[in-house]
């Protein structure tokens, strides 16, 4: 995810983000019947700020705190040895356990599905959640594994030659999603 270049097309703006996340929050509350045992786990790096935003929106609607944490998947990646060693990011499980919880994984882009597979493995090492759901801001297609998202902000059918660049206020100073020409990352 690089800086917006000349041939980048911005497809989602800041107000779209709020609308999409609000809708996802409502969908989570509806499908998880009030979200009593729900914890949100963001996948680093951009899933983490998205999870805290979603957590705040959920808390506003539900009228109580929804625990939010982070789940690093680096050591569970299937391409670990194909690349130079990647830095590990912190994992933070609110309340210390995922046992008996409904874990909603939060990430920015759903692409091959390999990140989610790694996240499922990482979760299994931490305990036994009652259920695991997946919420993503953008689903761009091109799945390589039998994985789908339960909550999707926006379906963005894209070509493999394009890059989907997600920028967030927390990490990049602005909210937008752009489609850029260039090899998919």
């Amino acid at each position: 995810m690089t800086d917006a270049s000349v041939d980048a097309k911005i497809v989602l703006h800041a107000d779209d983000f709020t609308r999409m996340l609000k809708r996802i929050a409502h969908e989570i509350l509806e499908s998880e019947r009030g979200a009593d045992d729900v914890i949100l786990l963001g996948i680093p790096s951009r899933g983490v700020p998205l999870a805290s935003r979603l957590g705040r929106l959920l808390a506003e609607i539900a009228g109580r705190d929804i625990p939010v944490g982070a789940l690093d998947i680096t050591m569970h990646r299937d391409d670990l040895r194909a690349k130079p060693t990647r830095a590990i990011q912190p994992t933070e499980i609110p309340g210390g356990t995922v046992d008996g919880k409904t874990v909603v994984l939060v990430d920015d882009v759903l692409f091959s599905g390999r990140t989610v597979r790694a996240a499922l493995d990482a979760l299994a090492d931490l305990g036994r959640p009652t259920a695991v759901r997946l919420a993503v801001l953008v689903d761009r297609g091109h799945r390589e594994l039998p994985i789908r998202a339960d909550f999707v902000g926006k379906n963005l059918p894209s070509s493999r030659d394009e890059r989907i660049s997600v920028r967030l206020v927390e990490s990049d100073g602005e909210d937008h999603v752009a489609i850029e020409q260039g090899p998919a990352s």
Partner: protein, 317 residues
């Protein structure tokens, strides 16, 4: 980073390793401690010198990362049949191992190993687990890790040891722990003072990035943030460096009186094993017992981070 032969790391490099160790530390509270990062990798612990804690620490670290760990010790290997270190190392490498953790009584053994492997087995990574009186980088990293945790608690990530004043006391000349710490801690921003009898200060110590004194009481009067007592290494000393054990205790042991003179907040450290009544009084040893055990736990995390950094990534031919 290709090998871990020395604690002479850059600040950013050292902090990245310590941060990674924080994440590894957290894994120890998980239900399932095993991580899959080194699955299918083989790590050999080649220990040509006695060690319990370092060897088992590396072994546990490798196993928790799912590596296959093999232990080779000096007495049970062909070294006892007269095989040279070079031949032993090349034999191990030829078996297709990914990492060699080496402990050897001779200074420079780890660096030599890396050199020997460079031509024929460039993909093998070497970790120095102590070479003679030279270096012990993972010990320095775990000391830095434990100290950073004592000072910053759970908010340690990304931080150095800026302005932290540490006195390292004892046989500096023969101590690889002291040498590695004297390289690493100042790189992290700490101010290190070495305290030793004049005969146990290494030659060239004035060129190190540290203060040097022979007066332990003066160093204690400075109220350091941490005091690291080194073990009096009877096995590494040839000849008389101090007139008698009594003289050593009088001048450079952490006695009850010196322990009382230190502020409550001073962190007491010791790389272990302890010689109670020699470099540290029994009472002072009791007071630091929890910190010593904490250092042992930290050791596994730091070694996991080191193994991960070196062995997990792409194969570099």
């Amino acid at each position: 980073m290709k090998h871990l032969l020395t604690a002479a790391l850059g600040r950013d490099e050292a902090i990245a390793l310590l941060d990674s160790a924080e994440d590894m530390h957290e894994v120890q509270s998980h239900q399932l401690k095993k991580l899959p990062a080194l699955r299918g990798r083989t790590v050999v612990n080649a220990f040509f010198e006695n060690s319990t804690r370092t060897r088992s620490s590396f072994e546990i670290a490798g196993k928790w990362l799912s590596a296959d760990v093999i232990n080779v010790s000096g007495s049970s290997s062909s070294v006892s049949k007269g095989e040279s270190l070079r031949d032993t190392v090349l034999t191990l490498a030829a078996m297709g191992v990914d990492g060699i953790v080496i402990r050897h009584g001779d200074s420079g053994a780890a660096a030599l190993t890396a050199d020997w492997l460079a031509a024929s087995h460039p993909q093998v990574r070497v970790l120095n687990a102590g070479d003679g009186a030279h270096e012990h980088p993972t010990q320095a990293l775990l000391d830095a890790f434990a100290l950073r945790r004592r000072i910053h608690g759970t908010a340690s990530r990304g931080k150095g040891l800026d302005g932290v004043r540490i006195a390292i006391v004892g046989d500096i000349a023969h101590s690889r722990v002291a040498r590695s710490n004297a390289l690493l801690l100042p790189a992290l921003g700490a101010e290190v003072t070495l305290v030793a009898p004049p005969t146990l200060l290494p030659t060239g110590v004035e060129t190190w990035n540290t203060q040097v004194t022979t007066d332990l009481d003066a160093a204690i009067a400075q109220q350091p943030d941490a005091v690291m007592m080194l073990r009096v290494q009877l096995e590494r000393q040839q000849g008389a460096f101090v007139p008698s054990v009594g003289d050593y205790i009088l001048g450079w042991s952490l006695t009850d009186a010196r322990h009382r003179a230190l502020p409550e907040s001073t962190v007491l450290m010791h790389p272990g094993p302890l010689n109670r009544g020699l470099e540290i009084s029994s009472k002072a040893a009791e007071a630091m017992q929890s910190a010593v055990l904490e250092q042992v736990t930290s050791g596994v995390s730091v070694r996991m981070a080191a193994l991960y950094a070196l062995v997990a990534g792409e194969d570099q031919a």
